[in-house]
């Protein structure tokens, strides 16, 4: 156990009492949770969605794979526990004949440099506040930082990946360029590069590939069920993913269309029940929906439900949700069961004192819910629920008042793709998503390769300079793991993977490296002796740079 985490826990004791008070558990909300008792067999069902699966798959591998990070740097640098993915080269979709390219990548370490951030700057950045509130913040910061500010720094890298495309033909060319980068949907606003041609910003379209990783059993478990994510942790993983071009083809393809898949919808609205009161024996008033089904012929997805039990032998399922009260932000929102395949039978609903789905959970009077059954297509049904999810997804708020929210159609499309590729709508769906809860799908938080597409005009015999500028996070080992890579941060790039450009030269440069020590690399930098720009060997597929602060 690390002493630092103990200090952190203790330091939490002193935070603003108002926050502690606001977060205090009320006790009456405490529940006794039970997930389903037994994991079901794979839901390899003939539910009429097979056709949708084929369009955009290619990234996901299932089953045990390579070990998670830690060290290992015989070839191509370390295998880090948290891998940010390499910087990829630009490629051309069409019109690339007769073009040559030169690449000059610049890695700027300025985010590593401590920057003085005055209390006035902090105050001015809080644009959401009134002037009076800003003055209060300033007084607070002046108290916290009597020197008038503090130093900020990070381990991100500012990358400018520059290309000079030269048109050797005698005709003007308009080419569609693609710039790949690694991100999750949630991190998109922080990771998305800006593209410019000859200094002018380019209009871009965004394409998203599938989840780049796979799934694995729980470490040390006897069960072979694929319950954990297995993210890519080396550039070779991306090489496997991108080499044959199918991942890109899929990324440029259409999302699954579920409009030909019929679904029976059970919409739960108008729920009511008493407030939680532990002393009164109802710590978590819950609506339970129980029904019979043939697990071989029926798949159930749900939105809003968050407790369940399943009995595959008896062909019974229970789904339940805590009864929202008027003070809950989601009060009034509908909850859904989506039944695909054969309809469920003998649906009953009722109130219970807790969310437990045990047979002996006590019933609760004074609860109720309206259930409406109707039939429609799965595309429209899911759209309705995912719109609610999209609006309520508070994770985007972390990125700045929702400014980082991706386009809804992208969000919806990636959700459908996830359901069809590894979720309950896939014949090879993994156990991780057996519950069928839409809110459990990891489509927004897993890494994938995105592509920015832009059109560029290159005159006959002329050149255009394209620059992709981005903030690139570091790869690292978790501090607590205490590996030999502690305090070491890695950045890497690939020279040829996924590109069809004919490169005449590639160079790499590093800026603002003062106080940063190279631990491992294959670039050939020698900062101490002034070698901060190097020519890259086009035959070398992968370059890596691992650094730490001097003295760390």
């Amino acid at each position: 156990m690390n002493k630092g985490s103990e200090r952190l826990f203790e330091a939490l004791s002193g935070i603003d009492p108002q926050k502690i008070d606001a977060a205090a558990p009320t006790g009456k909300e405490i529940i006794h949770w039970k997930r389903w008792g037994a994991l079901a067999a794979a839901l390899a069902l003939a539910v009429g969605v097979g056709g949708c699966v084929l369009l955009r798959l290619g990234g996901i591998g299932f089953g045990p794979g390579s070990a998670a990070g830690g060290s290992g740097h015989d070839n191509g640098g370390s295998v880090f526990m948290s891998y940010a993915g390499p910087v990829f080269p630009l490629t051309v979709l069409e019109g690339g004949e007769g073009l040559t390219a030169r690449r000059d990548i610049v890695m700027d370490f300025s985010p590593w440099m401590p920057v003085w951030w005055s209390n006035e700057q902090e105050t001015a950045s809080r644009t959401e506040l009134t002037e009076e509130e800003r003055q209060a913040v300033l007084r607070q910061y002046d108290e916290w930082y009597p020197k008038g500010g503090r130093f900020l720094k990070s381990t991100d890298l500012l990358v400018t990946d520059g290309y000079t495309l030269t048109n050797l033909t005698e005709e003007d060319k308009t080419v569609r360029v693609l710039y790949p980068f690694v991100s999750s949907l949630l991190d998109l606003s922080e990771r998305i590069p800006s593209l410019a041609a000859d200094g002018a910003a380019l209009n871009t379209a965004l394409h998203a590939g599938g989840y780049s990783g796979g799934f694995q059993p729980v470490a040390g478990s006897q069960s072979k069920g694929l319950l954990n994510l297995e993210r890519l942790n080396s550039w070779e993983g991306y090489k496997t993913l991108l080499s044959d071009g199918s991942y890109l083809d899929a990324a440029l393809g259409e999302f699954p269309d579920l409009s030909n898949t019929p679904v029976i919808v059970y919409r739960f609205t108008g729920y009511y029940g008493p407030e939680p009161d532990e002393k009164a024996g109802r710590p978590n008033p819950t609506i339970r929906a129980g029904f019979d089904l043939d697990y071989e012929k029926t798949t159930v997805l749900s939105y809003g439900f968050h407790g369940m039990s399943r009995d595959t032998e008896k062909g019974h399922m229970i789904q339940c949700f805590s009864i929202p009260q008027p003070y809950n932000p989601w009060y009034g929102e509908p909850y859904y069961l989506f039944v695909i395949g054969e309809d469920i039978q003998n649906l009953t609903t009722g109130g219970y004192v807790t969310g437990g789905a045990d047979a002996d959970t006590e019933k609760l009077d004074g609860c109720g819910v309206d259930v409406k059954r109707y039939e429609m297509d799965l595309e429209s049904a899911l759209r309705e629920a995912v719109e609610l999810m999209y609006g309520a997804d508070s994770r985007f708020e972390e990125l700045g008042n929702g400014a980082g929210r991706p386009d809804f159609e992208l969000y919806f499309g990636l959700m459908k793709e996830f359901l069809c590729s590894c979720g309950p709508l896939s014949p090879s769906g993994v156990e991780r998503y057996d519950a069928g809860w839409l809110g459990e799908m990891d489509f927004a938080n897993v890494d994938r390769v995105f592509y920015l597409e832009a059109q560029v005009h290159i005159p006959a015999g002329g050149s255009v300079k394209i620059a992709a500028s981005m903030t690139k996070p570091a790869s690292y080992d978790f501090h607590c793991a205490d590996t030999e890579n502690r305090n070491i941060y890695g950045y890497d790039m690939v020279t040829r993977l996924g590109t069809n450009l004919d490169f005449t030269a590639q160079t790499a440069a590093a800026l603002n490296t003062e106080g940063i020590e190279i631990i491992r690399q294959n670039y050939g930098f020698d900062w101490e002796n002034g070698v901060d720009t190097v020519a890259l060997d086009p035959e070398q597929e992968h370059y890596y740079l691992e650094v730490r602060r001097a003295g760390a």
Binding site: M1, N2, G4, S5, E6, R7, L8, F9, E10, A11, L12, S13, G14, I15, D16, P17, Q18, K19, I20, D21, A22, A23, A24, P25, G27, E29, I30, I31, W33, R35, W144, R150, F151, L152, K153, S154, T155, L186, N284, H306, S322, W330, G355, S394, R395, E397, E398, W437, G439, E440, D442, N445, Y476, H479, C480, R486, N487, R549, G551, A552
Partner: protein, 185 residues
């Protein structure tokens, strides 16, 4: 009984202050202590210590947020008890929380000295300020009050799996925030 009335009893040196405190906040404090120590018996003793410390401190103190005040006292008493138990190799529920919090530790670069506890607290406070109310509440319920993930999840209306992922993101966010401020722990 209202908080002001309970504080009034303490100021009047009226011993009914203690049962009144226990009536209002005993459950919360016992749950908090149990989360840290993993033992009902120890939690009971810690909560009794809490009331005695409050008796010694009020007056002159007049807590503005009485619930948070009692909870903070209980947390500190329980942490002290956990350290005693650790010395006796008996550990407790806090081990799991500390193990999770290790994700939040910024990389120590050896340049700065470890910051003072007060500075660390301020940095965490600032980071908490930047969170949504829901995320702040989830983080504090887990790492301040020591609630189990499934309890935090249910109070937030989401599944334990979703909450686990969300807490992971929050820990990562705190680590980055501390790193950005150049704070070593």
């Amino acid at each position: 009984m209202e908080d002001a009335d309970i504080i009034g009893l303490y100021w009047a040196r009226d011993e009914r202050a203690i049962p009144a405190s226990d009536e209002a906040y005993g459950g919360l404090c016992r749950a908090l202590s149990r989360n840290i120590l993993g033992s009902l018996e120890d939690a009971e003793e810690c909560v009794n210590d809490t009331w005695h410390r409050a008796w010694d401190a009020i007056p002159p103190q007049r807590p503005r947020f009485l619930r948070a005040y009692f909870a903070a006292l209980t947390r500190n008493v329980s942490l002290d008890r956990w350290r005693e138990r650790r010395a006796e190799k008996r550990g407790g529920g806090l081990d799991v929380l500390l193990s999770e919090l290790e994700d939040c530790l910024p990389a120590a670069d050896g340049v700065e000295d470890t910051v003072e506890a007060r500075e660390l607290t301020r940095a965490i406070d600032r980071w908490l300020d930047g969170l949504t109310a829901a995320d702040r509440s989830a983080f504090l319920r887990r790492y301040w009050y020591g609630q189990r993930v499934n309890e935090v999840a249910r109070q937030d209306g989401c599944s334990p799996n979703t909450m686990t992922k969300r807490l992971g993101r929050l820990r990562d966010s705190l680590r980055r925030a501390l790193e950005q401020e150049g704070i070593s722990v």
